[in-house]
Amino acid sequence: MAFSRRNFLKYAAMSAGGAAIVDTPFFSARARAEAEGGTARYVPTSCEMCFWKCGVIAKVQKNKDGVDEVVKLEGNPLHPQSLGKLCARGQAGIGQLYDPDRLKRPMIRTGERGDGKYKEVSWEEALSYTAENLKKIIEKHGPHSIAMFSHGSPGDYFTNLLSALGSGNISFPSFSQCKGIRDATWELTFGHKPATSCERVDMRNSRVIVLFGTHLGENMHNSQNQEFSQAVGNGAKIICVDPRYSTAASKASMWLPIKPGTDTALLLTWINILISEDLYDKAYIEQYATGFDQLKEAVKEYTPEWCAKETDLPEANIVEAARELGRYAPSVMIHPGRHVSWYGNDTQRVRAMAIINALLGSWGRKGGLYLPPKGKFPSYNDGAPEYPIPDEDPVIKGNYPFAGGEGLTQVVRDVTITSDPYPIKAWIIAGTDLLKALPAPARTREAISKLDFMIAVDIMPAETVMMADVILPECTYLERHDGLFKIETRESGVSLRQPAIEPMYDTKPAWWIASELCKKMGLDDYAVKDSWEERMKRQAKAWNVSWETLADKGYVSIPDSAAPYITPENQPVFKTPSGKIELYSSKLEEKHFDPIPKYEPTEQPGEGMYRLVYGRSPVHTFSRTINTPFLWELMKENELWLNKKEADRLGVKHGQRVRLENQDKVVSAPMLVKATERIRRDCVYMVHGFGHNSPRLSKAHHSGVDDQELITHYKVDPICGGTGMRVNFVKIIKEA
């Protein structure tokens, strides 16, 4: 048979695992531009539409005026977090870049705080004004009276500034409002977080995946969702524990619509079943864990019968789910989740999740959780001197012994209000929307009113930003350098952010802003020496990564860093006091907390009230993208998910608008009702992030309802200090 060249090419493409048409194999930005005749430029960089930081390739072309324009964003096939794909938000990043509502120039407040009156000033004026005010406050109250809140890449640069000034009051909502509890708890149990930025879940090889909340599909972290879909395609059994029929539940073989707040009961019962029915991995537990006997004893009381009553789930399903886990162990997992600050007793729930994973032997096993990659990166500070030791301890941990290093935002806020133990008089807010991120926004407003000075480094005129005394506009991620980023997936790697185009308007990268402030504050040694790009080059060298390759490919993997599974040669290391998986936590015992999780019921809604729960939309990131034109058009407002039978009972129709009133008599704006079978009768649900108050956000202003305004109440986890935010109850007011 003649073997033509045409056929050969087809076979070649086939054996590469795809159709005859494949996306242009991406070897490098330069090669791709050349292959296409040089009409477009390609810039590998990293997405910042959310914090997954996918590898992006920006296509840049000259527009008819000869100006560079970003025309398309695509996933970098070499980057393990994007694998050639971008989610809707990543695709729509151009919308953020060209959003006409962006902050365009530095501004100084001229009116009352919050009334939105500002004058545009030069960078020189804005920075001098900022430095002057900071100096005044430091003189009077000391450097620790300056606090910083951040989320995302600007954080690093301002952390440097604060540390150089001698303040340790640095906090991130990604700890106490998000995954802090999870990370701290898994460290107690396994001596490791279950993730650095990526959860180390080996879903593509799993046989059973259990999701507590964790609404994959709506919670859109790119590669994780790709793997979830792959698992669904492989026929993995998905068990979804969620009071709401989420997208993930729609893919599940078993949906367990649990009574909100009772998850720990289910988990402890499963532990009991696994142990009493001998379904756990005995050898694994013997080899790697301590405290099994105490655990076995402690969970005896949690019977399926009791659990069924407590959780409002069918007893048969409870038992069946546990047996499925046992049957397919260790290629199974209880997904560790991400946003876990739910009820104020979350540490123990997350502990129970970690413990089940241990019993099933899934840590370090194929289809379970893979091990952290090898390949360590030395810390790099570009020759800056050591930071001074702050004269006052930071307040950021409060009285929570296991609050991690990221700081408790609500504690900083409380101290700002009370000045106890010392006054906090200035806030630097860089890339976080505090009024939306922290529960009880009234307290955030109160704290802000106590400040002498507030600085916002942001890209959009959100409400929080428009409370600041000085606004320092950052350019968007497509216009700046950031990084280098350590990427830890199955392997270690390095990625970067580099500008696709020059900054539009009079905006600057956060590294520059923070560095200029260092200089103005007389901290030249901590400022960036030349440019961030040069610094990145030096860092790349220190990490033994070729800068040219990195800048051309966007991602460089560290050779031989992948060692995902336990083998005789590749033994796991548990950085706990005992060096083992601590089913019984000695550290918790030391601090007088339950060393083994105990079930503690949560308060349930009273007559006529519904628990308010919230989550994500795949097309938005919190509040930050609501105004992004191409995403706003996909989802303009959030709806209130209300059980259909409850809606009928209340005489509320699908598509009607209602208001919500919470237990503290806070009333929401009117919102659309989604009357649905997809949620339990005792709770209502909405997507978080909507209901912007800033009129400068022309699209997002007043579209939808802000869950946070209704979250006036929060319950702090006594162990890690996370703020449980699903402890608010609302009733439905029809008149609207």
Binding site: V619, L634, M635, T676, E677, R678
Partner: protein, 324 residues
């Protein structure tokens, strides 16, 4: 079922609204001008001696192209790229009724004009300023009968074509029926006859077209019934398609109303016509007789217009499957 769609276009979701009153007006006027062509031709042909009624024998042929032109004006208003309309005539697409329509109109227009010119009485011709045109009209006069015959056929084509366009749209079950063109033909003809009745000067002509219209209306009502019956016994999509006409729900009330009005207007017009035809007759028209005739003619026009409007709008509600 709970349905959510992200990325639907407003022009097709939740219901299609591609065409509006402009197209309905075009279909009505197009059908009517076809009716006028045929009816005026009949008026001429039925009397070998010459025009039975001098007024309607030349005014109607003049009116027909004007009405068609007005109709086409509305159609053009509906085009979202009217300045590209010349592309209609740079292509002939044998399976596209739209293309046929465009060419048909192009062929019919001269025919209508020639017919109108040839039918002009001398007194009217005398008023034409342009000598060449006057001479041309004179030259055409001998061909009047041939032109009338041609116009009769062309009128039928024109009237039926408006229905063929819609009926060829397989995606819209309400329209997708071979009966629809016949319905439109019939209603166009009956509208034409109604206009004849109103414009005619002599009682004889009026009565003649009244009789013609009676048969046309009876046919129209029968065809309408068959149309609905055909849909009712058709597949689910066809059955669903006619439901708006038989539902009093808020959303569909206009369609229900349209059927009620047609159901009242057309029979009432017949009754009035019967009264007139069977009534006592003198040579002169009595004032009340005239009123009866005109009133019934107006009812017919209303019925005919409503049929077009109702079909254009209701057809766009219909479709296959939807989201199942």
């Amino acid at each position: 079922m709970e349905l959510s769609i992200t990325g639907a276009n407003a022009i097709t979701y939740p219901v299609m609204h591609v065409w509006d009153w402009r197209v309905a007006v075009y279909l009505f006027l197009g059908g009517m001008s076809g009716g006028l062509m045929s009816m005026s031709a009949i008026n001429y042909i039925r009397s070998k001696k010459g025009p039975v009624d001098s007024a309607c024998s030349w005014q109607i042929p003049v009116m027909a192209p004007i009405i068609l032109a007005i109709g086409l004006f509305f159609l053009n208003l509906d085009l979202s790229r009217p300045f590209h309309a010349f592309w209609f005539y740079l292509a002939f697409k044998p399976v596209s009724p739209m293309s046929w329509g465009a060419w048909l109109v192009l062929a019919i227009f001269p025919l209508m004009i020639l017919y109108a010119l040839s039918a002009l009485p001398n007194a009217v011709k005398a008023k034409i300023k342009h000598a060449g045109l006057r001479g041309f009209a004179d030259k055409m006069q001998p061909h009047l009968l041939k032109l009338a015959k041609a116009n009769f056929l062309a009128g039928i084509l024109l009237a039926i074509y408006t229905g063929i366009l819609l009926s060829s749209l397989v995606a819209r079950p309400l329209w997708n029926s071979a009966i629809l063109p016949i319905l439109f033909l019939c209603s166009g003809m009956s509208a034409g006859a109604a206009v004849m009745i109103m414009v005619a000067k002599t009682k004889e002509t009026k009565l003649f077209f009244t009789k013609v219209d009676i048969w046309l209306i009876i046919a129209e009502l029968t065809i309408l019934l068959l149309f609905f019956y055909g849909h009712y016994t058709g597949d689910a999509a066809h059955r669903q398609a006619i439901m708006p006409f038989f539902s009093t729900s808020h959303d569909f009330f206009p369609y229900f109303l349209s059927i009620v009005i047609i159901g009242v207007a057309l029979p009432l017009a017949i009754v009035l016509k019967f009264l007139e035809v069977t009534g006592e007759h003198t040579d002169e028209l009595t004032a009340s007789g005239l009123m009866l005739m005109n009133a019934s003619a107006v009812l017919v026009l209303i019925g005919s217009a409503i049929i077009r409007f109702a079909m254009v709008y209701a057809g766009q509600l219909s479709g296959y499957g939807g989201y199942m």
